[in-house]
């Protein structure tokens, strides 16, 4: 009997079975894809973070350390790819003698690196002049000494001279010269200003008996790291601990890899939070849609159960039979969902399929969902709680005001949401806190309450307001010459206002969820582009090393496709003993090519600050840190030392006009922005080291630019630009999650519209049949459906748009830590918004049209019931 019942249920009503299975499948596919996104994001962040590290460990021998023993211990480390010895010698200074005279630097580091170091640790050293091997001067040291390839440099303390072969840029100088073993939280030490790289044999000769710091630079196989950045950081830390124990205090380890992975943990947590805040509402909506689909067969199920009862089936037996059907629906849904998740994930997540684990989780959830939504109503039917058809026909649909609204839950939830938002945002909170050196990322879930409360609160408010508005519809027209029955349609609508409002609430939720996800991801994408543009400098940037005496001609960037070219002089200036980057700009025109946001100039708009700088030739913008450290205020004079045309440092007096936190191509720490013309005039040097190019096709324009020797061209479309941008999440972007959420959101919003309207019209069928029997035309009968659909869709779309505006605002506030820089306002993807609303309206038109057509005919079989 069971098998026959299940087969009958499936084969005699294939559309119902398929609809239920597809509804479950949507949930399965969404869950599996979201899980996949989280897993993949973690993996991508780990890979990206690890890829940025040229040297994973810097193992420094202690005075009683033994090189052989340490090397032996390292050889036992799983995944060891290679190691090189790098020794550091501190000397009193370097001296060069040239046409401009003799120059002497302050204290310097002479570092020995093996011949193949550039291959061993690509990304650590970049050759600027010469082959990049052999005796090399760091770029700034070369500038200080006015030396280059072929110059002779004497090392003070050894009285030996070496001949320079190359000038190089040490791209990871912070970690390369880190104080290994410094306690956590002691802060990074500034890298030395003067560095000479030499072959190992040369260092021995230079050092003599002087103490040398010996390090082993180690590279590990990153493919062996766990996907999750936190787990990867833990594993690496454990291996370091094991190594330290193995060498019995003979070495200290500078763990660059763990530091990078630790930073990626924050991004991984944010990715999870995004899925939580944007994905979970989508999943709930998918579950509701599945329940709606299944509920449409409750009436037939009720009749089937009546027949089963007549045939003597016990309630348990009935439950078993319906449960078996639910199981089949669930299995079918799980299979379809899992099969759909594969192409969906591939499409959305860069061609990657979801893992088996997430497919199983999705399938299991689908099975559970099918059982819950199908057996739930059954329990009600078995208890006799479901109304019969006759009861439905004659029972008033004037539902009571629901309990949540009577309790004022909408106002309470929304109020709670706004208060939470205010409390958490007024003091510059952080949702995710990842303390350095602590293996666990801490998440402050408090602020998340704001959007979590806004979802239900906003939805309930839509319910309340819709019911209120429909209850105040004007009464009746005095005449009805065309028999349109407007007064009766309004009377019915007024009477059914709470049910219509409930449908509008469901639509508003679907629209709100979809649009808020769209606004959030559009804002994110825009900020990610700004982030990358900040790193690059503009859409395209041509750069020479700072203080380079070879300038760039703006003509080289004036290629087809370039919309604007801005010249920036990149100099190095001493503020007291600190050497900082100084950017000479034309403040009136810099905005044509460089990204400018108010967030760059705290306390004032960026336009006002640029105007102030333009009107103050000797004006200068300093970082907050510099202002604080030197107790400087707006209007104060500040004396900077810059190199002039004779490569001598000379003091120039500027006046502080404002504070700047970020600027195109500028580093994250302290830097200076000044008027390019004034800097040139004071130093007698007008070379331009950077050209910023605004274009709508960065890659094409970058390809057309022929840089002079020593210059590099970067553009926002290149992967390296994204990878080196500040935010790890920005590096990968949310494209995958956006595609998933927006795609499923569109499907769910459209399906919700169709289902809510269909569900409502199904309940109206007896009344419409009565109208037909009275001789009402198809148009008159359909008028009742169209009136209700129109009210529901208008309220749902307007309510959904309002809900999405509130939610987008809260999401952007709560997840502000993701953005760097913070967005000034939300980006609204108008085409997607219009597309979603259009899809909802079209779904409403098609559904109502189809329902109107199907209910316009009297079905004798219903009258025979």
């Amino acid at each position: 009997m069971s098998l026959r019942y299940v087969l009958n249920a499936m084969l005699r009503r294939p559309v119902e079975t398929l609809a239920a299975a597809v509804a479950v499948a949507v949930t399965v596919a969404l869950l599996a894809s979201l899980g996949s996104f989280v897993e993949r994001t973690g993996g991508r962040l780990t890979v990206t973070a690890a890829a940025r590290v040229p040297v994973d460990w810097q193992v420094q021998l202690t005075p009683n350390g033994d090189l052989a023993a340490t090397t032996h211990a390292l050889s036992a480390v799983p995944g060891l790819q290679g190691l090189r010895e790098v020794d550091y010698l501190r000397v009193p200074g370097l001296v060069s003698t040239g046409p401009a005279g003799t120059r002497t630097t302050g204290a310097a580091f002479v570092v020995s690196i093996p011949q193949d170091y550039a291959t061993f640790a690509p990304g650590e050293i970049r050759a600027l002049l010469g082959p990049g091997t052999g005796v090399s001067l760091q770029q700034q040291t070369a500038a200080n000494l006015a030396a280059g390839p072929g110059s002779s440099v004497r090392v003070l303390g050894s009285n030996r001279s070496v001949t320079v072969r190359s000038v190089v840029d040490l791209r990871q100088a912070d970690s390369f010269f880190q104080v290994v073993g410094a306690p956590v939280g002691s802060g990074a030490a500034a890298p030395p200003d003067n560095v000479l790289l030499v072959p190992p044999a040369e260092l021995k000769a230079l050092a003599g008996t002087a103490p040398v710091v010996r390090q082993l630079h180690v590279r590990l196989d990153h493919r062996q790291l766990p996907h999750d950045p936190a787990a990867a950081a833990d594993l690496v830390a454990q291996r370091v601990n094991h190594l330290v124990v193995a060498v019995s205090g003979g070495a200290l380890v500078g763990d660059n890899l763990a530091v990078a992975l630790s930073a990626a943990r924050e991004d991984a947590v944010y990715a999870r939070l995004l899925v939580l805040l944007l994905g979970i509402p989508g999943l709930v909506l998918a579950g509701v849609v599945a329940a709606l689909v299944v509920s449409m067969r409750n009436e037939r199920q009720r009749r089937d159960l009546g027949l089963l009862r007549l045939r003597g089936a016990t309630p348990g037996r009935q439950g078993l039979l319906v449960g078996a059907v639910a199981l089949v629906d669930g299995l079918l849904g799980a299979a379809i969902g899992a099969a759909a998740a594969i192409p969906v994930s591939r499409l959305a997540l860069d061609g990657k399929s979801p893992s088996t684990g997430w497919l199983l989780v999705g399938g299991g959830a689908g099975l559970l969902l099918a059982l819950l939504v199908e057996l739930g109503p059954l329990a009600r039917l078995l208890r006799g709680g479901a109304p019969t058809v006759a009861e439905q026909v004659t029972t008033s649909t004037k539902a009571r005001t629901p309990l949540p609204l009577r309790l004022g839950l909408d106002v309470v939830l929304l109020g709670g949401s706004l208060v939470t938002l205010w409390l958490t945002s007024r003091n510059g909170y952080q949702v995710v806190v990842v303390p350095e050196g602590v293996p666990v990322a801490s998440v402050d879930y408090g602020p998340l309450l704001a959007p979590a409360l806004a979802w239900p609160g906003g939805a309930l408010l839509v319910w309340r307001l819709t019911a209120l508005a429909l209850g105040r519809l004007p009464s009746t027209p005095a005449t009805d010459p065309h028999g349109r029955l407007r007064d009766l349609r309004r009377a019915v609508l007024r009477h059914r206002r709470r049910l219509v409002a409930r449908g509008a609430m469901a639509l508003a939720l679907a629209v709100g969820i979809t649009l808020s996800a769209a606004v959030f991801t559009a804002t994110y994408d825009r900020q990610a582009r700004v982030d990358v543009a900040l790193t690059v400098g503009s859409d395209v940037a041509v750069t020479m090393p700072p203080d380079s005496t070879t300038g760039l001609s703006p003509g080289i960037a004036k290629v087809p496709g370039a919309q604007a070219v801005e010249q920036v002089s990149h100099r190095l200036a001493y503020v007291g003993p600190d050497l900082q980057d100084l950017y000479g700009i034309d403040p009136k025109t810099i905005g044509r090519a460089a990204p400018l946001q108010n967030a760059f100039t705290p306390g004032s708009s960026v336009t006002a600050v640029m105007r102030a700088l333009a009107s103050t030739p000797d004006g200068v913008l300093l970082s907050q840190e510099t202002l604080h450290d030197y107790q400087l205020h707006k209007g104060d004079p500040v004396r900077l030392r810059l190199q002039d045309a004779s490569n001598q440092y000379r003091t120039v007096t500027f006046h502080v006009v404002g504070v700047v936190t970020e600027f195109a191509t500028a580093p994250r720490d302290s830097f200076i922005v000044a008027n390019r013309g004034f800097v040139a005039q004071q130093t007698g040097r007008s070379e331009v080291q950077t050209l910023l190019v605004r274009t709508s096709s960065p890659a094409a324009v970058a390809a057309r630019i022929t840089p002079p020797p020593g210059a590099t061209v970067a553009d926002t479309s290149s992967g390296s630009a994204a990878v080196t941008s500040a935010s790890g999440l920005a590096a990968g972007s949310l494209t995958g999650l956006s595609r998933l959420l927006l795609g499923f959101g569109l499907v769910l919003a459209t399906a919700s519209t169709a289902l809510v309207l269909a569900s409502s019209a199904t309940a109206r069928r007896p009344a419409l049949t009565a109208l037909s029997l009275l001789g009402a035309s198809a148009r008159q009968g359909a008028g009742f459906l169209w009136t209700e659909s129109r009210a529901m869709v208008v309220a749902g779309v307007v309510g959904g748009a309002a809900l999405s505006a509130l939610l987008s605002h809260e999401l952007l506030k709560v997840l502000t830590g993701i953005f760097d820089p913070a967005p000034e306002h939300a980006a609204i993807p108008w085409s997607f918004v219009a597309g979603t609303i259009g899809a909802v309206v079209v779904a409403a038109l098609l559904t109502t049209g189809w329902l109107a057509r199907s209910t316009s005919r009297v079905d004798p079989s219903r009258l025979r019931d």
Partner: protein, 200 residues
């Protein structure tokens, strides 16, 4: 004959519900189809109303569809409209002005004894009252033929008798031919004609 059915047979999925049935009713006459549940009464009414084509046999009606009113067993009132609005619905769909339609409907409600319930919603009315509103709604359009399916089916015997009496008297007064389906022989006894339908 206002309606005449000859040799009407209806089968559903191989099951014969009506087998060679003959019925004829003249203008102003009343008749009753009597039979147990499942005997095909509703099916025959649907065939006579033109809502269901017979498998075989012929049906002849002197009147057009607009002059035929069919009242299903369930009262089928619109739950959101008052008794007066429900009773005027048949006229409204025919384009009668709201005020005129309500005036006629009020008269019919008066005729079926529901003066006091004009502003009540269906859920505020008893089953018998709901059935009377449905009959008033059908009669308000002045049909020449009224087909009522088990108008007393869900009512107690006393209420059923009242409803049938009101219905018959109103139809006679309006000159409307009336054919009801009922399982109650006592109810059928009051009509001009009666046809027994056997269980299929």
């Amino acid at each position: 004959m206002i309606v005449k059915a000859e040799g009407v047979t209806v089968t559903f999925g191989g099951r014969t519900v009506l087998d060679e049935v003959d019925v004829a009713l003249d203008a102003g006459e009343t008749g009753a189809l009597v039979g147990r549940s499942g005997s095909g009464k509703t099916t025959l009414l649907l065939v006579l109303a033109g809502l269901l084509p017979p498998t075989s046999g012929t049906v002849h009606r002197e009147v057009g569809p607009e002059d035929v009113a069919y009242v299903p067993q369930a009262a089928s009132l619109l739950p959101e409209l008052t008794a007066l609005q429900n009773a005027s619905l048949g006229l409204r769909v025919r384009g009668v002005a709201p005020a005129e339609a309500e005036r006629i409907a009020a008269e019919l409600l008066h005729a079926v004894g529901l003066d006091a319930a004009v502003d009540a919603l269906p859920e505020e009315l008893s089953r018998g009252m709901q059935q009377r509103v449905a009959l008033a709604r059908a009669l308000a359009t002045r049909p020449r033929l009224l087909l009522a399916d088990e108008p007393t089916g869900t009512l107690d015997r006393e209420t059923g008798r009242v409803v049938v009496d009101v219905l018959r008297e109103t139809c006679v007064a309006l000159g409307t031919s009336l054919l009801v389906a009922t399982h109650d022989s006592e109810v059928a006894a009051a009509f001009d004609h009666r046809w027994e339908l056997g269980a299929a």
